[in-house]
């Protein structure tokens, strides 16, 4: 099996301000993300030959298809496909567009994702998924991810206080990073004490262990690698994309250990293999990972091979994943600071990797020194699907 390494490049990206965008609809955010990406790539709407649109549940349940993107951007008579794969929906847009360009079908494609969560009237992502009338009644995202924290603390002998302190350090790091990013939703620094004293959302997770509930949109314009330099000097190349769908809901899966996700491990291995990465902690310069909850980020350190199993705690305490650390993670503040407008998140993460690899982070204080390889990762749920995409700023 041939991988996707160095076949496709990103030549333009856009990202809206994430937050409670009360005065903006999904169409407004699609327009803002797409036009920033057009400008960045130096193209116009008529250059787009095909589009993939990732969203989870924004606007219309009855077969809206790709029409929202067509309507907002007035993209006429080109294929536009709506994709949905839970929290990995934005990655799915990028992944499918990448394969279409790689096979030579299109030269320029748009991958775009959006979610308008602040029209639901509910703080959080709602309960259950509606797959069955009674099976997941009152299941919430924090309630589900808290199951991991309880088990992780139990297995590794952490008292609730010790466990929550580790999680607090992750929250503090991501809030700090988010405070430096002008497009983040939550831009306030917090302290460990604030995190520990915060109201409980789903024990053992408190308010600061949970990501924000935000609106947002992000977009990428891609082309074949051999065409990329026609558009810009510093395209970002796709090195690998892995995606894994677990076979059964972890909620009911026999033997599931609640200490991590097989989908994370499999998807990252697929992507690493394609990209030729053998030592993820050393080979990767920054990672944008799916920190829907602080416990999720902790487990991702282990699932993605950044920390040995059961020992992520040591790396958290050593500051390994801070902006100044050995492997900066969630340099823009992550879902923690940006919130999680579902279909937009993967492309927002990719936007940060793209900018960092180009050396174009808005503030010098948050620009990493000469990063070469970056990664974006989403985990969809109820945790069962994971996508990992790897990017680099040079071929080879």
């Amino acid at each position: 099996m041939e991988g996707i390494k160095d076949k496709v490049a990103i030549i333009g990206m856009g990202c809206t301000k994430f937050g409670e965008n009360w005065d903006k609809g999904a169409e407004d955010m699609l327009i803002e993300a797409a036009y920033e990406a057009y400008e960045d790539a130096g193209i116009g709407p008529n250059d787009i030959e095909a589009a993939w649109y990732g969203t989870d549940h924004t606007v219309g349940y009855l077969n809206p298809g790709g029409s929202l993107v067509a309507n907002a951007l007035k993209l006429r008579n080109i294929p536009i496909t709506r994709v949905e794969n839970a929290c990995a929906s934005g990655h799915e847009a990028l992944r499918n567009a990448t394969f279409a360009v790689a096979c030579g079908m299109y030269d320029i494609a748009l991958a775009i994702g959006v979610e308008k969560l602040k029209d639901t009237g509910f703080g959080g992502l709602g309960t259950g998924r509606g797959e069955h009338p009674v099976l997941e009644i009152r299941r919430t995202a924090p309630g589900t991810f808290a199951l991991l924290a309880t088990r992780y603390f139990y297995i590794y002998g952490l008292s609730p206080e010790q466990g929550k302190m580790i999680l607090a350090k992750i929250a503090v790091k991501n809030h700090h990073n988010g405070s430096l990013h002008p497009k983040a939703h939550l831009r306030r620094e917090i302290t460990e004490d604030m995190a520990l004293a915060a109201p409980i959302i789903a024990w053992p997770l408190g308010l600061f262990d949970c990501c924000g509930n935000s609106d947002g949109g992000a977009a990428a314009i891609i082309t074949r690698a051999d065409l990329a330099k026609k558009f810009r000097d510093n395209p970002i190349y796709i090195k690998g994309i892995g995606l894994s769908m677990d076979q059964m809901l972890p909620l009911f899966r026999p033997g599931f250990d609640w200490l991590g996700f097989e989908a994370n491990r499999v998807a990252s291995r697929q992507a690493f293999d394609q990209a030729g990465i053998t030592q993820p902690r050393k080979d990767i310069d920054l990672a944008e990972v799916h920190d829907c909850f602080t416990i999720t980020e902790l487990l991702i350190y282990e699932d993605l091979g950044f920390s040995p199993k059961g020992r992520a705690r040591e790396d958290v305490e050593a500051g390994t994943f801070t902006l100044e650390g050995e492997l900066p993670i969630n340099t823009d503040g992550g879902l923690k600071s940006f919130g999680h407008p579902i279909g937009a998140s993967a492309l927002r993460m990719t936007y940060e990797v793209y900018k960092q690899l180009q050396g174009k982070a808005e503030l010098s204080s948050r620009q990493l020194k000469n990063p070469k390889i970056g990664l974006s990762h989403t985990l969809g749920g109820p945790p069962q699907v994971a996508c990992v995409a790897i990017f680099g700023n040079s071929i080879g």
């Binding site: 639901t120 009237g121 509910f122 703080g123 959080g124 709602g126 309960t127 259950g128 998924r129 509606g130 069955h132 009338p133 009674v134 099976l135 997941e136 009644i137 009152r138 299941r139 919430t140 924090p142 309630g143 589900t144 808290a146 199951l147 991991l148 924290a149 309880t150 088990r151 139990y154 109201p199 409980i200 959302i201 789903a202 024990w203 053992p204 997770l205 076979q247 059964m248 809901l249 909620l251 009911f252 899966r253 026999p254 033997g255 599931f256 609640w258």
Partner: protein
């Protein structure tokens, strides 16, 4: 020999002190406490609990009848005994019937079951009675009523108490009633109800059956007289020549309250818990007339170690902290609507009832992996349609992990979300925990499954399973 093969009782976990109710209204307390069904319980779920306790050690395939008696059936139209039968996991070749409208419904169902077995139209009939009645706020009934259920299995082999005779009188009297438009129980003047209704009918039925059987008061070891309140019961027993101390069965009014149609059977269960071989018992119920039944305990009672006994159920309890909690559990005060709610579909519930109501999992015939909900393709070895159904409802389990969710809402917030690992093949069941103190939940805690009402959606009630600590 024909009679009781097995029995079971159920009293909800929560109690409300009558002083708490009285305090809410600035009124007088009648003393003691009453049982309160949790917010996710109703007459159907309590009947399922009692039935489970009754048929725990009985081959379910041998049960060919289920009669459900209640004045507070959640449905005016739609059979409830069929739903109870599915949850208890009885065979589908079964007579199911609902008995309603009178506090005598429990004993009337018992009589009908007795006749069915006697006439050989059924072999083993499970009778379950359950009630969850509402007294008007601030009324004495609000304090004196209780919630509970009982179940009696009638059959003709392995009988622990024979039914010797049954005798009924009917009396047209509008003493205690609820029309099709009422939520709360109405009553005419209490002195008239007790003297002209209760006392007269009970006396006629009891005298009638004693005379027909040629029995004198001291031929009976136990006299189980349903009673809406203590004094009229004691007066009645005294008039009939029974010894209050040695013969009269405790009416369970102080610690439980009047559980309506379930009450005569609940008192019978408590009497059987303490009964010895050879004892003769009288059971009498009231509700616009009276049913009187004479039973004789057999040697078989020694083989039967009921669990839980009624006194175990009384001992396992938590006090509700406030009257307002009770109001919210019975939906007597308006609550904020849930903003996010999953829709329901009668067809989906029907199609998935083997796991959603019967709580069956699938056990792969090739690799033995047990999965819940039922999986057509095995998660372990991908064998297709090669499984047998296994019952998870009667298996204990352990909490594998949990969270206490404050975001989900509901009357018992925080909701306790659990992953249960079942003793049946370590099947995993994601479910809510009920009847619990969130702070006491721990990994490894033993739990059992319990059938509960979820919510109304699309105009009907949705039922499913939760777990609870083993009491």
């Amino acid at each position: 020999m024909l009679g009781i093969v097995s029995y079971g009782a159920y009293v909800p976990w929560f109690r409300l002190s009558r002083d708490t109710i009285a305090k809410a209204w600035g009124g007088r307390s009648i003393g003691g406490e009453r049982s309160i069904a949790n917010y996710d319980e109703d007459s159907i779920t309590m009947a399922v609990e009692a039935s489970f306790n009754c048929v725990k050690e009985i081959d379910h395939q041998s049960v060919d009848g289920l009669f459900f008696a209640s004045t507070t059936s959640p449905y005016q139209e739609k059979q409830c005994s069929s739903l109870i039968s599915a949850a208890v996991d009885l065979p589908s070749e079964i007579i199911t019937s609902d008995f309603a409208n009178s506090l005598r419904a429990g004993t009337s169902a018992l009589r009908a079951a007795y006749n069915a077995v006697k006439s050989l139209s059924a072999k083993n009939v499970l009778v379950t009675a359950s009630d969850c009645r509402l007294g008007f706020p601030q009324s004495e009934q609000e304090q004196s009523f209780g919630d509970g259920a009982a179940a009696i299995l009638l059959g003709s082999s392995s009988v622990i108490a024979t039914i010797e005779d049954a005798y009924s009188v009917s009396d047209e009297i509008t003493d205690v009633w609820r029309t099709d438009r009422d939520n709360f129980v109405h009553s005419w003047e209490e002195r008239w109800v007790l003297t002209q209704g209760y006392a007269k009918s009970m006396e006629r039925a009891i005298s009638g059956i004693m005379k027909r059987q040629g029995l004198k008061p001291n031929d009976l070891a136990k006299v189980i007289l349903y009673a809406p309140e203590v004094r009229s019961q004691r007066d009645l027993a005294g008039r009939l020549g029974f010894d209050l101390k040695s013969q009269l069965q405790d009416p369970l009014l102080t610690g439980v309250g009047n559980t309506g149609a379930a009450h005569p059977l609940l008192m019978l269960a408590a009497a059987l818990d303490e009964a010895g071989p050879g004892e003769r018992m009288l059971l009498a119920s009231y509700g616009q007339g009276s049913d009187a039944i004479i039973l004789q305990v057999t040697e078989g009672i020694k083989e039967r170690q009921p669990k839980p006994r009624v006194k175990d159920l009384l001992a396992a309890k938590r006090m509700l902290p406030s009257y307002e909690k009770y109001l919210s559990y019975r939906q007597l005060i308006e609550q904020a609507p849930e903003l996010f709610n999953i829709d329901s579909a009668a067809t989906t519930m029907w199609r998935t009832h083997r796991w959603a109501l019967n709580l069956h999992g699938s056990k792969c015939r090739r690799c033995n992996l047990v999965s819940f909900p039922i999986q057509r393709v095995c998660y372990g070895c991908q064998a297709k349609d090669d499984f047998e159904e296994v019952k998870l409802s009667d298996k204990a389990g352990k909490v594998f992990t949990f969270s206490l969710d404050h975001l989900a809402g509901g009357p018992d917030s925080p909701s306790v979300q659990t992953i249960v690992e079942s003793a049946e093949g370590n099947a995993r069941i994601y479910c809510l925990m009920t009847d619990c103190e969130p702070g006491e939940v721990k990994i490894g805690m033993p739990v059992e499954m319990t059938f509960r009402r979820f919510r109304e959606a699309r105009g009907f009630y949705n039922y499913f399973w939760k777990c609870r600590m083993i009491r």
